[in-house]
Symmetry: C2
Subunit: 137 residues, 2 copies
DNA sequence: ATGCTAATGATAATGATTATCATTAACGAA
DNA sequence: TTCGTTAATGATAATCATTATCATTAGCAT
């Protein structure tokens, strides 16, 4: 039977209390001061379990690292392809006719759908401009 | 100046000629019989470059492996969360008002958007049923 | 307080992807 | 056609995020 562990709860809280979409390592560094004996393995283990139980979500693998999300209400993500920054974005309802068609055509049972808006955040755009200007000597 | 390499062309062709959404290793195994001296590194290298140049797309990292797509016309994907199988799905136009709002609110320049329909394919559903029935002895 | 075992810490192992570097091959110029 | 330049490659070591292992610790029912 599952037990109530302080570290698991801290991981959940950490994720619920940030608007960012952290990696396992970020959460580890965040909690380490409070739990001196915290192990990175514990963070990975719990994130995996919490994801399976539906208590948290995964945004997917961005820039080679999995990113997590404590907000389970339906919403989308805007993702910067340069720095990997993620913003929560309002949910939009997808055409249910399309969903039905997919389920029928592929005999595929849809559990949920994700929308990712991929692009460039302001900071990265500015940084790229800088670089270009320097090249124009 | 970029040169025309037979192996790069074969990798592109391989991707354009399959309806699946392969991993680097799958492509490697597919081409190995024709190019006895093909190296896995060459496949990885080219996929990375082709992705950057926009000649191919990445479906994302599924079950810990990056999956590629030779179809660059706008479309979506249905993804089985059990086996990782991917189906191409008709494109649907997302609400442009929402996009404008995102760009303004986050000062975020959207390049493109992805829709993933996550669920369970027929084969996996059947397999799960099997397993459950066996448990009911 | 005791016993059971889920949860953890430390760390080795795994496995996908990338970097390195010597060699090969594409291709423009002679 | 041959030659020279250098992009592309093969082989493999290195990287690094994630997972597995196992001895120890700590929730919690009794």
């Amino acid at each position: 039977m599952e037990r109530f562990s302080k570290k698991r709860q801290a991981i959940i809280d950490c994720l619920k209390n940030t608007k960012t979409h952290p990696t396992a390592e970020w959460i580890y560094n965040e909690l380490k001061p409070k739990f001196k004996d915290l192990s990175l393995a514990t963070v990975y283990r719990n994130l995996k379990e919490l994801k399976q139980s539906g208590d948290i979500l995964s945004v997917g693998t961005i820039l080679n690292k999995e990113r997590f999300d404590g907000t389970v209400l339906p919403h989308s993500h805007a993702i910067c392809s340069k720095c990997g920054k993620v913003f929560d974005v309002e949910n939009i309802e997808l055409d249910s006719e399309t969903k039905k068609r997919i389920q029928k055509k592929y005999k595929f049972k849809i559990d949920y759908s994700n929308i990712h808006y991929v692009g460039i955040c302001k900071e990265c755009e500015n940084r790229l401009k800088e670089k270009n200007n320097k090249g124009d000597i």
